[in-house]
């Protein structure tokens, strides 16, 4: 420490020799240091050590530490001071000026000594001197980062200058004291920071808890109460209330309160809190909180008056904003006057922005819930209206159409030509109205997304012939030539049969309607890969080019309707929707005056074995309906319909047959998981059917559930029925029985084996992991050449073969298996990524059970289809 002797003040630069040696000095410093180290925060102890050691080592009467404050230097620690001085100095901090020693130390930031204060003409702190009685005085600055924070001074009551070495000792102690001060400052800062942090953590925890509650709840009331109660808790106030803001009326409405009596809450709710007329209303304009320190001293609006009357004194209002919109505000209040700290206000603001989001969400949800109820009600009204309209229109239409038909049937005598003509007009007009009604119902069903397709596989020719038959009479009347061209391969169609007929009929009747007498209407249908393509081409009036784009739109009839406007304007719209529901598309090409051609596609027509099998068998296998089939042999329409409904509901696919012979054929071709058999059947009886099933090794394993009015269980079981139910049969009973017999039959059929031939190891693995859990024993083979031997030796219940393989391909494998008597009876299923050409199909024809496409492969469906085609497990003799 540089102790600079001021040349102007030579009297203060004289130093006496110090008594203590360096060892004592060091020891004292170490002591102070150790205190420092031990108790950095215990400033008092450090100061204590400093003043005691400084006094001792400097040989002074008094040592004291002053800290620099705004008012001046204050004694914070001392040793050897009399009380009178202490009291005086406490009341009068020493000013920082040149009148005294400590002021000079602070100003010059260096150690000073005044050898005799009484001899110093510049020394003016006489009052201090009088009370302290000091003569020689020395002080050293306490510096922290070059800033004076205080002064360590020592004095002697005799004039006896301190030696220069003592000055450096004092400076050292001043440093120690400064260090202590710094430590304390740091510690305090640290403590403050950590307590701030702790508070922040606490707040964050509270906020997160609140936001959790807010985020999870969409009940507005709950959200509001949570917001207000947490705001009060977070700000440690006594109560609060929350208002929602209605931008339309510019009013804040109190929705929830906390720490507030019901009575006051009621008053608050009734209060008119306008954005422009109240103190709280400012929340509509400001973005941060504002407060009233004392309610007693301000002008009170209606809202504040209520609060004041209830004894509240201070409050903070916090706007709640979400996406720049004011959604509400909350107020927290205390019963005591006083300012809310910035911390509390900040916290409330942070909380408000979170709460605003929650409030907005809750409101949106409330709105949504309300709208959805309204929509449901509206949609219900619409459905009820449509049902009722339909009923009300059908009732008179029944009479209109019915009586004209009665007369046209000549029930009451002959008609003359004109009468018959007019009656036809009446009947046709009635039918037209009926068609319009049906179209309206269909369209509203489609628009509401309520039209569901009932996909089945049905005979193609029958469907086309049916539609043609309905327009044949009219075509004949107008000498319109009707032709149908169905491609050979198109045997069955996979679609909603009724809807398909509706589409076909709509296009056909339009075509006939708009074709002049003597014209022609041609229907063509063929398969393109897995798409069914149908065109209906007429030589009619055609459609103007401008109208062709919107011909399928609602009530767009196009120019051609001008001639004979009979369409509902909805038919084509409904038709288009039905085609689209099937995943297909519809289009028109037309030349005015030449004719029109409407075309549509229905995708999802599978190839495979459709060509050779009866429609019913194809119906089952062509498209791999994943639902297990149950053949229902029942002549009573109502019973079978009910059974079908139950089966469908249970995830099964009913195949209903009206008599025993058809039923038996269906069992052979469909290979159902079970048969439901009525006994009283026209022609072949149920008993005969049961006998036939059990007598045919191919289908003997199919469990048969007899459902009959006859109480002949014994006979039923004797003939091999798996179960026997007496009518009437409830749904539960029926489904339970089916499930039971199917499970039993499945476990009997266990030991299913399959050989999979594919050069792709991944494909082999896929099939293996799919089939093995279902009880299959899977053998795989990567080479076509090896397949023949493997199949011959293991005689699996089915072979699954890839077509495209190097060397011996699938075709060759299939040929070889078919050629060998020992393998010819094993069903083969083709699994291929190849798109089959006509010649491919020809080559496979009759040799395979079905083709599964790798590109659209559903392994579970494949597994079910395999079960159906696979040879029954060999029992004893082959």
């Amino acid at each position: 420490m540089d102790v600079d002797a001021d040349p102007d003040r030579d009297r203060s630069t004289a130093f006496a020799d110090a008594q203590p040696g360096p060892r004592a000095q060091l020891a004292a410093i170490v002591e102070v240091l150790s205190v420092l180290a031990r108790s950095s925060s215990q400033q008092g102890k450090v100061f204590d050590a400093v003043v005691n050691n400084a006094r001792r080592l400097c040989g002074a009467d008094v040592a004291q530490i002053h800290l620099l404050t705004d008012e001046g230097l204050r004694i914070v620690h001392s040793v050897g001071l009399n009380e009178a001085y202490m009291e005086f100095a406490q009341a009068h901090p020493i000013p920082v000026d040149r009148n005294g020693l400590t002021g000079r130390v602070v100003m010059d930031r260096k150690t000073h000594q005044i050898t005799d204060v009484l001899a110093d003409p510049d020394y003016r702190n006489r009052e201090y001197q009088r009370r302290g009685g000091f003569r020689t005085i020395m002080g050293a600055p306490m510096l922290i980062a070059d800033e004076v924070v205080g002064v360590l001074s020592v004095w002697r009551t005799e004039v006896e200058p301190f030696a220069p070495r003592i000055a450096s000792v004092l400076a050292t102690f001043a440093n120690q004291a400064a260090l202590a001060v710094r430590n304390v400052q740091q510690t305090t800062a640290l403590e403050r920071r950590s307590s701030e942090l702790a508070a922040k953590v606490e707040q964050l925890e509270a906020l997160s808890e609140v936001s959790k509650v807010l985020g999870s709840s969409l009940d507005v009331e709950e959200v509001l109460s949570t917001i207000v109660s947490h705001a009060v808790e977070l700000s440690m106030t006594d109560g609060g209330s929350l208002m929602e803001y209605d931008a339309a009326t510019r009013l804040f409405r109190v929705r929830a309160a906390y720490g507030t009596s019901d009575e006051v809450l009621e008053q608050l709710r009734r209060a008119r809190i306008h954005a422009d007329e109240t103190w709280v209303g400012r929340c509509a304009y400001v973005t941060s909180s504002f407060q009233i320190e004392d309610l007693q001293t301000v002008d009170r609006d209606a809202h504040l008056t209520i609060l004041h009357a209830d004894g509240w004194r201070s409050l903070v209002a916090v706007p709640m904003r979400s996406h720049d919109h004011v959604v509400g505000a909350f107020v927290v209040r205390r019963r005591q006057p006083g300012r809310f700290t910035e911390d509390v206000c900040d916290l409330l603001s942070a909380f408000a922005s979170q709460s605003a989001i929650a409030l907005t969400n809750a409101r949106l949800y409330e709105e949504l819930a309300r709208q959805s109820v309204e929509l449901t009600v509206a949609s219900q009204h619409k459905s009820e209206f449509l049902a009722s309209m339909s009923h009300e229109l059908r009732t008179p239409l029944n009479a209109v159409i019915g009586f004209s038909e009665v007369l046209l049937e000549r029930m009451f005598g002959e008609l003359n030509e004109r009468q018959e003509d007019y009656l036809r007009d009446i009947r046709d007009a009635g039918r037209h109205l009926l068609a319009l009604l049906n179209d309206v119902l269909d369209l509203s069903k489609v628009e509401a997304g309520q039209m569901e397709l009932d996909l089945t596989t049905f005979d193609a020719a029958a469907a086309f012939q049916y539609a043609l038959s309905l327009v044949r009479e009219r075509a004949a009347q107008h000498r319109v030539d009707l032709t149908l061209d169905l491609s050979e391969e198109l045997r069955v169609i996979r679609a909603d049969e009724l809807r398909f007929r509706q589409v076909l009929l709509n296009l056909l009747s339009n075509a006939v309607k708009f074709t002049a007498d003597g014209g022609s209407v041609a229907v063509s249908a063929w398969l393109d890969a897995e798409d069914l393509l149908v065109t209906v081409t007429d030589s009619g009036v055609g459609i103007p080019y401008a109208d062709q784009d919107r011909i399928f739109d609602t009530f767009q009839q196009g120019g051609r309707f001008v001639v004979r406007s009979e369409g509902t304007g909805l038919g084509l719209t409904v038709t288009k929707r039905i085609v689209q529901l099937h995943g297909g598309r519809i289009w028109v090409t037309s030349a005015p005056g030449v004719g029109s051609s409407f075309g549509f596609t229905i995708p999802g027509q599978s190839i495979g074995d459709a060509a050779e099998e009866a429609p019913l068998a194809a119906a089952d296998q062509a498209l791999g309906d994943p639902r297990p089939a149950v053949v229902v042999i029942e002549d009573d329409e109502r019973s079978s319909e009910l059974v079908a409904v139950h089966l469908t509901a249970a995830g099964l696919r009913p195949v209903v047959m009206r008599d025993g012979r058809a039923g038996l054929a269906a069992v052979r071709s469909v290979r159902p998981v079970a048969v439901i058999l009525d006994i009283k059947l026209p022609g072949m009886t149920g008993w005969e059917v049961l006998n036939a099933i059990k007598g045919d090794p191919d289908i003997a394993g199919t469990p048969v559930v007899v459902v009959s009015v006859l109480p002949e269980r014994g006979k039923g079981f004797a003939l091999g029925a798996a179960d026997y139910l007496v009518k009437p049969v409830g749904r539960e009973e029926l489904i339970h029985s089916i499930r039971r017999v199917v499970a039993a039959a499945t476990s009997r059929a266990e030991g299913r084996t399959i050989v999979v031939v594919d050069d792709d190891p991944m494909a082999l693995e896929l099939v293996r992991v799919t089939l093995e859990p279902q009880g299959w024993s899977v053998e795989v083979c990567e080479k076509g050449a090896d397949a023949i031997g493997l199949v011959t030796s293991s005689r699996p219940s089915v072979v699954l073969v890839d077509l495209l393989m190097p060397d011996t391909d699938g075709f060759a494998v299939i040929d070889a298996l078919a050629a060998r008597p020992e393998t010819a009876d094993i069903p083969v299923v083709v699994l291929t990524a190849k798109s089959l050409q006509a010649q491919d199909r020809e080559r496979l024809d009759g040799r395979i059970a079905f083709v599964a496409s790798k590109s659209a492969l559903d392994l579970d469906v494949l597994a079910q289809r395999l079960v159906r085609v696979s040879r029954p497990a060999e029992t004893g003799a082959p």
Binding site: A387, S390, H391, E392, L393, R394, T395, P396, L397, N398, A399, V400, I401, G402, F403, E405, V406, E409, M411, G430, L434, L441, D636, E637, R638, E641, L642, V645
Partner: protein
């Protein structure tokens, strides 16, 4: 020649007339009732071979009338076929699961109607 006594329950006079005319022309004996209550009373008084029942009737509706008929041993085996202008799929479903033996929609086809009725007559319960 077709025979059989059919009770037609229908509150709309024109539709009632039509049904009766068509059935009588086909050779049936037709009795009529305008309300569900009447229908039940008549059926109990003289059990018909078949009942054609409108569903929407003043007072006791078709469903309730069916329940009454099924509850009485004298009439529980008489086939009851719904003949209705309620053509929604759920109406059909509801009727069949309630125990109606058939579901015929209005407007009827005069040519096919007698056959449809005949089919249900054959299937006496």
């Amino acid at each position: 020649m077709t025979t059989g006594r059919i009770l037609v329950v229908e509150d709309n006079d024109k539709n009632l007339k039509l049904t009766r005319d068509v059935l009588e022309f086909a050779g049936y004996t037709v009795e009529v009732a305008i309300t569900g209550e009447e229908a039940v009373a008549q059926a109990l008084a003289s059990v018909p071979d078949l009942i054609l029942m409108d569903l929407q009737l003043p007072g006791m509706d078709g469903h309730e009338a069916l329940a009454r008929l099924r509850a009485d041993p004298d009439t529980q085996r008489v086939p009851v076929v719904a003949l209705t202008a309620s053509a929604m799929p759920m109406d059909r479903e509801r009727a069949l699961s309630a125990g109606f033996d058939g579901f015929l929609e209005k407007p009827i086809s005069v040519r096919e109607f007698p056959d449809q009725v005949r089919r249900h007559l054959r299937k006496r319960r």
